[in-house]
Every structure is written in C-alpha cells, then in structure tokens.
C-alpha cells in the first residue's frame, strides 16, 4: 500500500534521513521505533507531505506522492496524527472533528461517522461542546486520533501517541489503535515506547541516526538482546 524507496531528507544542510526503505501492506500495523532524534517524525512528515525528500520516491497505492502538497495527500487517504497531538485548542471537540472531515463532501455519512468516533472514544462524546484545549492529555490524544479518522483514511500515521501519558491511558489508547486496525485501517505507528508498539505490530522497523537499522518480526525483536538493551530499557 505504501512504499518509501531510498528516501533522503534534509533540514537545510543537515541530513535527517538516509536512504530509508520502508513498506506498509494493507491491513497491517507497522511500527517504526527508535530513540529521540532518530528521524521517526521526519519520516512521517515526509510521507504526509509536510517535508519533501531530496532523493527517492514515495508510492501510495501505485501513485507517486512525494511531490504532492500535504492537503492533497490527505485526499488520497493518508491521515497523519502529528507528534504532540496538535489539536485545535481554540475550537470545540466537535469542531475539531469537523475539521477532520474537512475534505469530505458526503455530509450524511459524516454525521454517522461522528457517532462511530464517539463509540470508539465515549469520553469525547461527553465533552463534544467543550473547548479542546481544556481536555486532559489522554483525551487530547483521543481527539487527535478521532479527528484524523474523520477523513476516512486508508492509512493512519501515528506519531508517538503514548507521549507524556500515564501508563493506564497508554494501554487504553493502544487497545483502541488495535480496534481501529481491526475495523480496516492500516496503521503506521511511530514510537519511542518500543515495548508497547512492538507488542501490537505485525512488522517493525528500527531507525537509528536517520537510517533503518533493523527490520523484522516484532516478536523476534522483543527477544533480541541488542534491541532489548537499546530500546526496551
């Protein structure tokens, strides 16, 4: 479904990604784990069009997308939940979800989809009229995911959904990610919290200093001594 081929990305003169090759198949949960500053967020931003690769190409469902604008890439079915959630704190929960559905024209189905989001995240329903900035961190993460789902993505990109959240909330969110995947959305999950991510993923990549260091079955990686030492604390 998604393929990154020999991707190089620079911030000015500084190279952040070096020859990244990565694949996500339909229906999978793929995780990309790595330390802080390894290039995880840069990878997702490059896929969603916020950054342009200097070299290489990104293919999504047979189409080359690395020259498209971020706003056009959403329309093709890739939705990016950015690091730090980036919800619209000045708008209500409901308005945030409406923004998620911005590209859609099928207003009748949109109404039904709000209900679907609320059944995934009942807490958002209670708070639908509340300003999004007043939500707790976990609720903001739920809103960020719900908002991204409102565009009906085929592929969901999640950037560190566990960041700064209490372990119990992280567990809840990861179980919802599995539900979302079971309902038919492919997921590319970026995490520093490697343990949780490797536990729910079908396949995994480990990124270090802008390069893919390892690729494989997450169950194997969880057992690998060097991985354990470097990423699982």
């Amino acid at each position: 479904m998604l393929e990154l081929r020999n991707i190089d990305v620079y911030y000015g003169n500084i190279q952040a990604l070096k020859n990244i090759n990565l694949k996500v198949n339909r229906g999978e949960i793929v995780t990309l784990v790595g330390a802080n500053g390894a290039g995880k967020s840069t990878t997702l931003k490059t896929i969603s069009g916020m950054l342009k690769p200097k070299k290489g190409e990104i293919i999504f469902n047979g189409e080359k997308i690395n020259n498209l604008n971020a706003s056009d890439i959403v329309k093709l079915g890739i939705s990016h939940v950015p690091e730090g959630r980036r919800i619209f704190a000045n708008m209500t929960v409901m308005e945030n979800l409406e923004m998620g559905a911005f590209i859609r024209k099928d207003s009748k189905n949109i109404e039904e989809d709000y209900e679907k989001i609320f059944s995934l995240f009942p807490r958002l329903k209670e708070r639908r009229k509340q300003m999004a900035g007043t939500l707790s961190g976990g609720e903001q993460q739920m809103l960020a995911i719900g908002r991204a789902l409102m565009s009906k993505p085929k592929l969901l990109l999640l950037d560190e959904p566990s960041m700064g959240l209490a372990p119990l909330i992280v567990k809840e969110i990861f179980s919802i990610i599995e539900d979302i995947n079971a309902l038919g959305t492919t997921v590319l999950l970026v995490e520093q919290n490697a343990n949780m991510a490797l536990n729910i993923a079908n396949r995994a990549y480990i990124i270090k200093n802008g390069s893919i260091e390892l690729e494989g079955d997450p169950k194997e990686l969880l057992k690998d001594e060097s991985v354990k030492k470097a990423y699982l604390g």
Binding site: S48, M50, N69, A70, S71, D72, V74, K75, S79, H80, P82, R86, I87, F88, A89, N90, M91, E95, E98, M99, G100, F102, I103, G133, L135, S136, G137, Q140, R147, S151, G164
Partner: protein, 294 residues
C-alpha cells in the same frame, strides 16, 4: 450628563471604524503572523473608491459601499499574492518591511493619480439630526448608519468565522497552520480568504469615514491604520473579539480625551494606553494565553 451622552455617541462611531480596521490586522496576524502595515492604505483606497462611485457615477451609498468592499478585498488578495506570499518562509521582519513598502507604494501611487489635495466626500446620506434630552444631545443620522453598518459587518464576520467551513478552516489555521494543512485545508486559499475579508472590512471603514468626516486624502490611512493596529494589540492581537473591544475602547478614550481639552494629545494618548496595557497584560485584553497540556 448630556455631554457624556454626546461623547458616547461620537466615541462609539469612531470606535466602530477602528474596530472594523483592527479586525483585518488581527485576522491576518492570526494566520501569518504579519502586521500588515498596508492595511490603513487599503482603507484609504476603499474611501477613494467610495468617493469616485458616489461623486462621478452617482451610485447610491449602499451599492457604493459594497463595490468598495469588493474592490478592496481584491486588492488585499493581490497584495498578498504578489508581496507576501513569496516571503512566507522568510523572517517576519522581511515581510514587515515589505508591508511598510506596500503602504508607501499605495499612498504615493494614489497621490500620483488623484493628487495630494483633500477631497470632499459628497453628502450621500441626507443629513438629519435627531435631538434628545431637550435638544442637548444630537444624534446625527450618520452615526446611526455607521454604527448599524459596523454591527452588521461584525455579525456577518462572526457568522462566517464561527459557522462556515471556510471560517472554521481560518480559525484552525490561525491556531496551527501545519495541523490545518494535515486536515486537507488549502492554506493558500485560507490566507487569500483572510486577506479578502480583512480588506473588505477596511474598505467599508474607509467609506464610512468618508461619510463621517467628509474629507479624504491619499495619506488618510496612516494614522488611523496605526491606531487600529493599537486597537488590535490592545484587545489581544489574533483575537477577533479583542479587535472589536480594542477598537471601541480606543474610540471612546480618544473622544473623551479630546472632549476634555486634550484634543492635541488624543493621538499620544492612544499610544500611551498601548504601552500601559502591554506592561500589565502583554497579551492584550483578550489575548491568547496558550496553555500546553501534556
């Protein structure tokens, strides 16, 4: 007592005009973090378009107002596309200097074509005064028009910003441009739309000022432009209700100062207030206090 009422009426009319202009500053700032110093000159162009339409084409007040708004909104879109868009990723100081250049360009281009002299706006509204309190308070029908139009425009703006898809995209973009883009919002369209709205309001303010003070000239936008900027900062730049509050407050304060023998100082007072408010509330009266939650 009558004095107070009279000043209240004048202050509110003036404040409404500042508020209309302050809205443009604040909306543009909210989205691209630019103080559009050409905004006062867009207002000047609006006044001239209104003047030309009513004087030479004998067009009525309301159609002239609407056409002026359309012309200035187009002007705003063009200025953004030509002058600011190429600088979107440049340091803000570069864009700010460009804005000042555009301001001068508009002033002196207008002067080249229409001459530097002051023009008299025609009496497009029949002058009628309503007298209250034994004739001690005079309410010119112009004040009523100005206030009514100001309020209608503000309500319309509020509706667009709160209820329409474009308005929501505007609010989202002003909070987080990148996140809005991730929702599929075409940021260029939103920015154009913002300039169009802000400039239309400035154009309307220009026509209203023409009617209120009867005179216009190519440099008329400088000082009111600066004061509207003060009003926007006073209210909290980036906050739409702040611009309205700041505009009306400034109009009232100015009228009160000049009515109490301070007409020479009234402009200085505007800036003094700005400095004081910013010392106490750096974000302005209704400014955003961004609170990050983890």
């Amino acid at each position: 007592m009558e004095q107070v009422f009279q000043q209240l009426i004048n202050g509110i009319s003036l404040g409404g005009i500042y508020a209309l202009m302050a809205l443009g500053y604040t909306m543009v700032y909210g989205i691209i973090n630019l103080i559009n110093f050409a905004h006062g000159d867009i207002y000047m162009v609006g006044a001239y378009v209104g003047f030309a339409l009513t004087t030479f084409f004998n067009i009525g007040f309301l159609p002239a107002l609407l056409i002026s708004m359309a012309v200035t909104s187009l002007l705003g879109i063009i200025i953004e596309k030509i002058a600011y868009k190429p600088l979107r990723k440049s340091p803000r100081i570069t864009a700010l200097i460009t804005a000042i250049s555009i301001s001068l360009l508009l002033q002196y281009t207008m002067m080249y074509f229409v001459g530097p002299q002051t023009r008299t706006f025609p009496e497009v509204l029949e002058s009628k005064s309503l007298r209250f309190l034994n004739g001690n308070v005079i309410l010119d029908i112009k004040n009523v028009y100005i206030l009514a139009i100001t309020l209608i425009l503000m309500v319309a703006l509020q509706f667009i910003v709160k209820k329409t898809k474009m308005g929501k995209a505007m609010r989202a973009s002003s909070f987080d441009l990148e996140a809005a883009e991730l929702m599929g919002v075409n940021v260029n369209k939103v920015i154009s739309f913002t300039f169009a709205m802000g400039s239309a309001l400035a154009g309307a303010a220009g026509v209203l000022v023409g009617i209120y003070y009867n005179t216009i000239n190519p440099l008329m936008g400088s000082l009111p432009g600066l004061k509207a900027f003060v009003a926007a900062v006073l209210g909290g730049i980036g906050a739409i209700p702040g611009a309205v509050l700041g505009g009306f407050s400034l109009g009232l304060i100015e009228t009160i100062v000049s009515a109490n023998g301070g007409s020479v100082f009234k402009d200085a007072v505007a800036f003094l207030i700005l400095i004081l408010v910013l010392l106490i509330k750096p974000n302005g009266l209704l400014g955003k206090t961004v609170k990050e939650k983890v």
